[in-house]
């Protein structure tokens, strides 16, 4: 049914003792041979040295081979059990990516293939999804279950409104012979006001920060003390701290709870122009992390602070001689003495809370917001159109966006929504 061969890290996020990488599909065995030289017999494990295409050693890994249909996906598959360092995992995934006909799996795609190949039935698949979701359920609490019911009613109301808009414009088209009217200006206004309502909803806090943690990104030039600050906050040596500038080449995430608010504290590579390739990649990633952050903690010069709606400017190393005074509006902090940490955390909490949905508010997730954004775009286009038929087409488009939101859409979309609930590669 599927032609691509897919791969993904199917164990938790590294670092870990062991990381499991799975490959499934027609080219899975070829991929295994390319990396490991040879494969063990089906359903047997063997130790192999994994090499990249230029012969460089990637890792010594335990490798398992399964032949379809007697595999969990029903397809030929290979499993690598590597050492669980980030560099190792990235290197192996990178080597797989460069093999022709292989691509990274979509979320839930392994399960989906198992389902499509009759290895599990839908109730099992749904059960699995529920099980996986249940882990985060405690974080969301029962308020969210209520909120979802609230969203359903809200969406039904919007659907009714859009249906009315559709009916009005369709009547004008299909009842051409009745008293012919010009373009319904009220329709334009009504499309506009509904579009505006959707827009305000789209600006509301989303559910992801509550579910996955508020993303607080610590950024600044190299050696500004970002890692030290994270260690001071998290209370343990999570980040690697040296006094060589540019040590943190990739980012490190520290999940912790700030007075019950889940926070994902992220350390980034120092933002500077660098000649070195690896560091340059780190810097580029840091920039994109800052862009996607809910809150930014900036340790550099106040004037260089990134343009972000929620940024806390910090004056680090306030314990050092000559750094005792912080500029106006910048929070002095010392990771060594702990000075200013409490105030920083309080401000962080305040900003973090502002991106979380209120206790009883209805929060959208990314998928829902995506469909609502489509509906918004369509209604906006409808309100800007002076052509009956194109306005009707846009309103219809808004209607189908809501259909996708509620699941009344193409079968594949429904299944995508279902299997998208799985973490990548599970």
């Amino acid at each position: 049914m599927s032609t691509d061969t897919i791969y993904a890290l199917s164990s938790g996020r590294p670092p870990a003792a062991v990381s499991i990488i799975r490959v499934s599909g027609a080219r899975a065995h070829d991929a295994g041979r390319i990396l490991a030289g040879s494969l063990p017999e089906a359903r047997h494990a063997a130790l192999r040295t994994l090499r990249s295409e230029d012969g460089g050693v990637l890792d010594d890994a335990l490798i398992l081979r399964f032949d379809g249909p007697a595999s969990s996906t029903g397809e030929d598959s290979v499993e690598f059990q590597c050492h669980g360092g980030r560099a190792v995992v990235d290197a192996v995934l990178g080597a797989l990516k460069r093999i022709d006909g292989l691509r990274l799996a979509q979320p839930g795609e392994f399960t989906r293939r198992a389902f499509e190949n009759g290895r599990i039935d839908l109730t099992e698949a749904e059960g699995l999804a529920d099980l996986i979701e249940a882990e985060t359920e405690s974080q969301r609490k029962t308020a969210l279950a209520m909120a979802e019911g609230g969203l359903k009613h809200q969406v039904e109301r919007w659907q009714q409104q859009i249906l009315q808009l559709s009916a009005r414009v369709e009547a004008a088209i299909d009842y051409a012979e009745e008293d012919d009217v010009g373009f319904d200006q009220e329709l334009v206004a009504d499309c506009q006001s509904l579009a505006h309502e959707l827009e305000t909803w789209l600006e509301r806090p989303r559910i992801e920060p509550l579910r996955d943690g508020v993303r607080v990104v610590v950024a600044g030039p190299p050696n500004a003390g970002k890692s030290s600050l994270i260690n001071a906050i998290a209370g343990e040596e999570r980040a690697i701290v040296t006094d060589v500038p540019g040590t943190t080449r990739d980012h490190i995430e520290v999940p912790f709870s700030l007075e019950g608010v889940p926070v994902l504290l992220t350390d980034t590579a120092g933002l500077r122009e660098s000649e070195e390739l690896v560091e340059r990649i780190g810097v580029a990633r840091a920039r994109s992390l800052v862009e996607g952050a809910d809150v930014v903690v900036w340790l550099g010069e106040p004037k260089d602070a990134p343009d972000h709606p929620r940024v806390i400017k910090v004056h680090p190393r306030a314990d050092l001689l000559g750094r005792e005074t912080a500029p106006d509006g910048v929070q002095p902090v010392s990771s060594v003495t702990g000075q200013g940490l409490a105030v920083l955390l309080e401000r962080m909490l305040h900003l973090a809370a502002s991106v979380l949905p209120g206790e009883d508010a209805i929060a959208l997730n990314r998928r829902q917001a995506g469909h609502m954004a489509e509906a918004f775009d369509a209604l906006f286009a409808a309100s800007a159109s002076q052509d009956f038929v194109l306005a009707a087409e846009n309103i219809r488009s808004a209607r189908t966006a809501f259909d996708r939101l509620t699941g009344r859409a193409g079968m594949d979309d429904v299944l995508d929504a279902l299997f998208g609930r799985f973490c990548l590669g599970k």
């Binding site: 049914m1 389902f115 499509e116 190949n117 009759g118 039935d121 839908l122 109730t123 559709s166 369709e170 004008a172 088209i173 299909d174 051409a176 012979e177 009745e178 008293d179 052509d387 009956f388 038929v389 194109l390 009707a392 087409e393 219809r396 488009s397 189908t400 699941g407 009344r408 859409a409 193409g410 079968m411 594949d412 979309d413 429904v414 299944l415 279902l418």
Partner: protein, 558 residues
């Protein structure tokens, strides 16, 4: 031995018979009376928004309706001129007699043999149609198309007067209706109505708003036979509060409200008494006065279909400005008739239960000549396929209004008379009345159901499309206007097509699928979707049921 027999020489029957004949079948067309060929039993107009699209599509397959309309048109209007090419609807007023004679000529030219007889009974053997018993004897056939319109067990209502029969003065096929019911095909009763006919000489035209025919010359058919008929003007009259009072005071004499009529009428084409009752706040309704022919004094008052008693009909019409002295030549009436659940038919309009039995037209719950004719085409083409072992000819929603209609009927069934509207077509921007040849030309050629003249016209048209000057043509301009939207629709369609590829075996037992409730199984069983895409469009079928169906279908395929 006939390859194909068609019962009924109305709009569906004529198209079915001639389409089958064009594919090379030996066809017999069975009718009570030879004079009934192409009879317009209601409004003498053809086309409109959505309906005009159907006629243009039918024309690409060398259907008869568009050419008969061109030969008899006494008034033409392109509706929705200001609203963009996708929804422009060509509409004709036909001279009733000229239309009938044009249709008779076209049917005869197609090589169809006329059988004047009453159809009495289908003869089946081993689950297949083998013949038709008539009052003139047994006729053997391989395929049979029933296109009897409202003639299955129909009842006519004028006030409290009730009569058996389809059109006024004609017999109703009671015996055939009984048999169709016994075969388990009939579903329920629908209602339709027709207004009274007025004597045009008693109308004060000078006091009414004139509605002239379009100035520019356009034809319904892509093949212009060159026949031009003098053009007449229509007129618009308006009801007033006095009219409404007269109608209201007679509600108790209406069979509609008294409960004598159980069938459901079309919401979008209500009787005047319905309009007055449901839209009580409207102080006036339009009446389009449409002459029925060049040498015909009859005028059709479009918009006042009614089954009120004859005296009330006369009184309320006479309260309308310009109609003060109007004489009614015939009263309006309501017809209640039996129809077949079209979900019992496949997408070729063949019965799922009886091989070679096709149903087309109003009997399937539709209203309108155009809807009937388009179904006639589908049934005729495929009846020929069945009889001669030719490839089936299918229509899909994306490519034609015909496809939209067939899909709606066979999947959703009907709860009120089905009328085509552009709102039903989700790919409306691509399905224009002006691009029917571009959309369907190749299909028509491959279906081998067209004459040489048509084939040349299609080939020429497709060649012109390939030229650099295409973008400056009217059709090319419309293509450009909608191009960005069509691209988006194409992407949407790609999503749908993945589901189209998942076919559902015709013997799949929905009730036995884990995860499908009894209610869902019933809905699915009634519609018998052929693909997952169709299943997803059945009203009320839940995503959960679809998932389970998807698994079951994939497992069967594996």
């Amino acid at each position: 031995m006939f390859d194909v027999l068609v019962i009924g020489a109305g709009h569906a029957g004529c198209e079915a018979a001639s389409a089958a004949a064009r594919r090379g079948a030996r066809v017999g067309l069975v009718t009570f009376r030879a004079e009934d060929i192409g009879q317009m039993s209601c409004n003498p107009s053809i086309g409109g928004v959505g309906k005009g699209h159907l006629v243009r599509e039918l024309d690409v397959f060398d259907g008869l309706m568009a050419r008969a309309a061109d030969r008899s048109a006494i008034h033409r209007r392109m509706l929705n001129r200001s609203k963009g090419p996708a929804v422009q609807g060509p509409r004709f007023q036909a001279d009733r007699k000229l239309y009938r004679s044009a249709m008779t000529t076209l049917v005869r030219e197609s090589g169809v043999e006329l059988v004047v007889a009453e159809a009495l009974e289908l003869v089946t053997k081993g689950g297949k149609v083998v013949g038709l018993r008539t009052d003139a004897g047994l006729l053997e056939c391989r395929s049979l198309v029933i296109a009897t319109g409202t003639f299955l067990d129909a009842r006519i209502f004028v006030g409290d007067e009730i009569r058996e029969g389809g059109r006024r003065g004609e017999q109703s096929s009671i015996r055939l209706g009984k048999q169709v019911r016994e075969l388990g095909l009939a579903q329920g009763r629908l209602k339709t109505g027709t207004p009274p006919r007025l004597d045009g000489r008693t109308i004060d035209w000078s006091r009414l708003e004139r509605q002239p025919s379009d100035d520019d010359e356009w034809t319904m058919s892509a093949l212009d036979d060159g026949v031009r008929v003098p053009q007449l003007a229509c007129a618009i009259a308006r009801t007033n509060e006095t009219t409404h009072d007269i109608i209201r005071s007679a509600f108790d004499r209406s069979p509609l409200f008294a409960g004598a009529i159980e069938g459901r009428g079309p919401r979008y084409c209500p009787s005047i008494e319905d309009k007055v009752r449901r839209f009580a706040d409207r102080s006036s309704h339009q009446i389009f006065l449409e002459p029925e022919g060049l040498d015909d004094r009859l005028v059709y008052p479009n918009g006042v279909s009614t089954s009120l008693p004859a005296d009330v009909q006369r009184d309320f019409l006479r309260s309308v400005e310009g109609l003060e002295r109007v004489e009614l030549v015939r009263s309006g009436y309501a017809v209640e008739y039996e129809f077949v659940d079209p979900r019992r038919l496949g997408s070729s309009l063949e019965s799922r239960e009886i091989g070679g039995l096709f149903l087309a037209g109003q009997i399937n719950g539709t209203t309108g000549y155009e809807e009937a004719a388009a179904q006639g085409l589908v049934a005729g083409l495929n009846a020929a396929s069945h009889a001669l072992g030719l490839e089936a000819v299918g229509f899909d929603r994306r490519g034609s209004y015909i496809g939209v209609m067939i899909d709606d009927l066979t999947l959703q069934g009907v709860s009120e008379p089905y009328r085509m509207m552009t709102a039903r077509a989700e790919y409306r921007l691509a399905l224009r009345a002006d691009n029917a040849t571009s959309r369907l030309g190749e299909r028509a050629i491959s279906a081998a159901c067209i004459g040489e003249r048509r084939r040349r016209q299609i080939v020429d048209h497709l060649e012109r499309r390939a030229c650099s000057t295409w973008n400056s043509t009217e059709e090319g301009q419309a293509d450009l206007l909608y191009a960005p939207y069509l691209e988006r629709q194409r992407r949407e369609w790609d999503t749908v097509r993945r589901d189209v590829r998942v076919t559902i075996p015709s013997d799949l037992d929905f009730a036995a699928i884990a995860g499908i409730s009894n209610e869902m199984a019933e809905r699915l069983d009634a519609a018998r979707p052929e693909t997952l895409d169709q299943a997803s469009r059945i009203r009320g079928v839940t995503p959960a049921a679809l998932s389970a169906l998807y698994v079951a279908a994939c497992r069967r395929a594996a």
